[in-house]
Amino acid sequence: MSRDEAVIAYVLRLADNALILAQRMIELVTAKPELEEELANANFALDFIGQARMLYSYAAELEGAGRSEDDFAFMRDGNEFRNLLLIEQPNGHFGDSIVRQYLFEAFYVHQLDALTRCKDQRIAEIAARAIKEVRYHLRHISHWLIRLGDGTDESHQRVQASLDELWRFTGEMFVSDEVDVAIRDNLAGPDLEAIAALWKRDVEDVIAEATLQLPEDQWMARGGKQGQHSEHFGFLIAEMQFLQRSYAGASW
């Protein structure tokens, strides 16, 4: 894999994480339990869409093959997407979505922080823009996790079950492959081992404050970064891509 190919692959992973999480959040628009949460969810999803657009545009420029941001989003098949498995997990109940969002954004904030110092100027600029948004998300989401964990017996039990269920998807975030290594070595990008330690520290703090139990070490699912997705993913992109696949080039 050439240096440029690694950068394109890495930028597409970042973009796919942002887009697919946004798509999951969009599924929840008009379905949140209260108005403030409705606005928070839609606003956060919009931040992710904006980040995905900046990243896809950059990937398109690097690739130089005439593809647009829309081509990346709507015209690739499932196995061409490189988002984490955690991101594509179904929304489930309110606690499930909060836990999924928290576990990912607690990682993403450190990934972006490292990227603001990387040698690729464009990636560093996008990361500097995005991290401001993600810090705001994290503050909000961790408050919810604490409120649910340290809430009623029912909310405590249910959010503990969400945490136990989603935990097996967290390992993938910290497994380096050749793309991660190339970005770390060539561009002074994130060191996933260092990020794993920061993530664990933050997550332990919030989980303790939420009076929840940290799940035990266990088998970790992986494959998203290589394009091997869970069953849920096919349904997600079928809905997301339907319009552009059926009426290619349709616009508002």
Partner: protein
């Protein structure tokens, strides 16, 4: 067409409103990062939030405003660095926000003053408001609800 000066272009841009908070011009908002006038006119803009839906509307308003003034060759450049924060809003812009009924973003850790009665006795109702950049607040003295432009 006679050559235009940068100053002239800035003057025209002062009439281009932010589509979500039309009392602010894009200059007040601090998103015009540069204007250059080599033959054509190039305007460098930076987005406020990554996903701000106003970005494209603003770009087309700038194009329209300059075309109306007879400029033929116009380029819009998107720049990301340094990232926009609420500190880029000008003092004039902050004053216009207040008059419009939106509390401007806090500087340092000062309390949020009610834009109606200036009381500092205010409370947050919701961290999220009608747009990504605003939160909902209420004054506990005059009891008016108001919007607060979030500090970013």
């Amino acid at each position: 067409m006679a050559a235009v000066s940068r100053e002239q272009v800035y003057e025209w841009l002062a009439d281009v409103p932010d589509p979500e908070i039309p009392v602010l011009s894009i200059l007040d908002l601090g998103i015009v990062r540069d204007v250059s006038v080599n033959g054509g006119v190039t305007v460098s803009l930076t987005p406020t939030y990554s996903g701000c839906p106003a970005t494209e509307v603003i770009e087309s308003s700038v194009l329209a405003a300059l075309e109306k003034k007879g400029i033929e060759s116009i380029a819009i450049k998107r720049v990301l660095s340094p990232p926009w924060t609420t500190d880029w809003i000008s003092d004039a812009g902050r004053e216009k926000l207040r008059e419009y009924g939106i509390a401007p973003p806090a500087r340092a850790s000062r309390a949020i003053a009610c834009p109606q009665c200036e009381s500092l006795h205010t409370e947050r109702i919701s961290e999220f408001g009608s747009t990504a950049c605003k939160a909902a607040w209420r004054c506990r003295d005059c009891l008016e609800p108001f919007e607060y432009f979030k500090c970013l």
